[in-house]
Amino acid sequence: MLTLPLDLLFLFAITTPLIGWLAQKVDLPRLSGVYATLGILLSAFTAFQLLLQTLGGVVPPTPTSGLFNAYFDLDIFGSFAMVIQIGLGIAASIFSIQYMRSESGSSLYYALLIGMIGGMVGVVTAADLFTLFVFWEMMCLTSYLLVAFKNEEPEPVEAGIKYLLMSSAGSATLLFGISLLYGMTGTLNFGGLATALGHATPGPWLYIALLFIFTGFGVKAAIVPLHTWLPDAHSAAPSPISAMLSGIVIETGLLAMVRVLFTALISLQTYWSMVFAVLAVITMTLGNMTALVQDDLKRMLAYSSIGHIGYMLAGLAAGTVVGLTGTILHILNHALMKGTAFLCAGAIIYRLGSRNLADMSGLARRMPKIAVAFSIAIFALIGLPGLNGFVSKLTLFVSVADVNLAWVGIAIILNSAISAGYYLRIVRVMIETESEPSENLREAPVSMWFPIWILAILIITFGIWPDLVFNIAERAALAILSMT
């Protein structure tokens, strides 16, 4: 059934604090983490089955009566995004078992994490804009609290409040935009919006709605100039949460935007594709340039996420099947690459206690497993062929070159070359041989390197056999384009 992964997530989100209370009684600090991971795994399993079903052409039955009637709709796009979201959630959750062990109230942390995943799943499977908005808020709320979770330190709290103010202002803007769309059509269903607005000549209100909706989603997706919250939030959050935020939460903003753009706002495509082309170049350039001067490892990775959002926007600017395929593929690949990178950073910080790049010199000798996985992720982020990042960047370039936006493609490649400058700094620091590595550095525990290596192996696998996911991404793109 369609809502099964979502139901499971909610069930576990509610019961995890209970298990946490029980765990305190019997003195098993890791129990709630294991329980939560189990829940996400179960949900991932059902989500994967739904993906196989939709790929096989079967439309999973939606509940015909009751609360959720017809407010959800599952296509290949939704189910593929869902699998990515829950999949990265598994890795973050396994990683957290050790990472958050010493935190008080870790069961609440897991409840929030599962809630965030549930929110994202709701966003990509929603069939109407308001359902989307409710889940959107659920994702946002949980992510504010997760960023500020380590409330005994000032930085996470500061990052949390800044993130909250900026992002909920964005959400309010989004809601305003949705109300305008409602006012124009009387419906919020994607299908209804597409029929009502898809082929009509755009009126002035539609431009205003586009502006509001674009701003609302753009804050979450960290499109320059709405990106200022991102580096703070991503660097101050606990590392598994940074992995989630960078890897999939900001991309969910893009995914939701894709839904609206290709249904309600399709008649303005010539207009917004030009805006996106310009913003793509600005976003990727600013993200990569700023990352060059960072000394804080997590901040550097956060800025690099902005750069990658820029690459993804290029595919939306193209707006063709190839372009959307590239964007969706790059969202998957970026989730794997950035997930690995942030989890590796987390493992290093867990041992070292510092985020400063300079303190990490020579860690490859003490933490070889982490260092190798980190290097794989970094080379994939640069876009070296044979790893997954290359295939999606190539697809994006081809798509923009096809629609006479070759300058965007050239910007992608030049940015990849620039980004090598700071990515390589990380590798160089790790393999440095002159100074003796810090005493604290030891190999990370198995529950940390295991999820990292699963992701790293997927990076290599999808790099060598891109067709494993290329097909699905293309069908997801076709599903979006067939909505009008």
Binding site: V157, L164, A172, T173, S179, G186, L188
Partner: protein, 104 residues
């Protein structure tokens, strides 16, 4: 009957008031209130437009949306004030400009 555009100007005005509040105020609590004003502007918009569609018919969808939206706004302010309490504990102030440990 008052024309629709008057209502829209009102809601737009409210939205801009919220935006202005976000842009100029220093106190974090006031910023949260600004966000609430923006959300209320959107809510009001829904209500206004719900009566716009058919003469004499008020769309219940919009009203249910607004109910949900008010709840969500409550959640946001709850979360915001939770974090604000911790902000006050750590920094001893509610001035947003004093929060600048993070930069870059």
């Amino acid at each position: 009957m008052i024309p629709l555009s008057y209502y829209l100007i009102l809601t737009m005005g409210l939205y801009i008031v919220g935006m202005y509040c976000l842009a100029t105020k220093r106190n974090v609590v006031r910023l949260v209130l600004g966000i609430e004003i923006m959300i209320n502007a959107a809510n009001l918009n829904f209500i206004v437009l719900s009566a716009n569609w058919t003469e004499g018919f008020i769309d219940p969808l919009a009203h249910s949306i607004v109910m949900m939206s008010i709840t969500l706004a409550g959640c946001i302010s709850a979360a915001a004030f939770t974090i604000i309490i911790f902000v006050y504990r750590h920094y001893g102030t509610l001035d947003i400009r004093e929060l600048r440990r993070l930069r870059g």
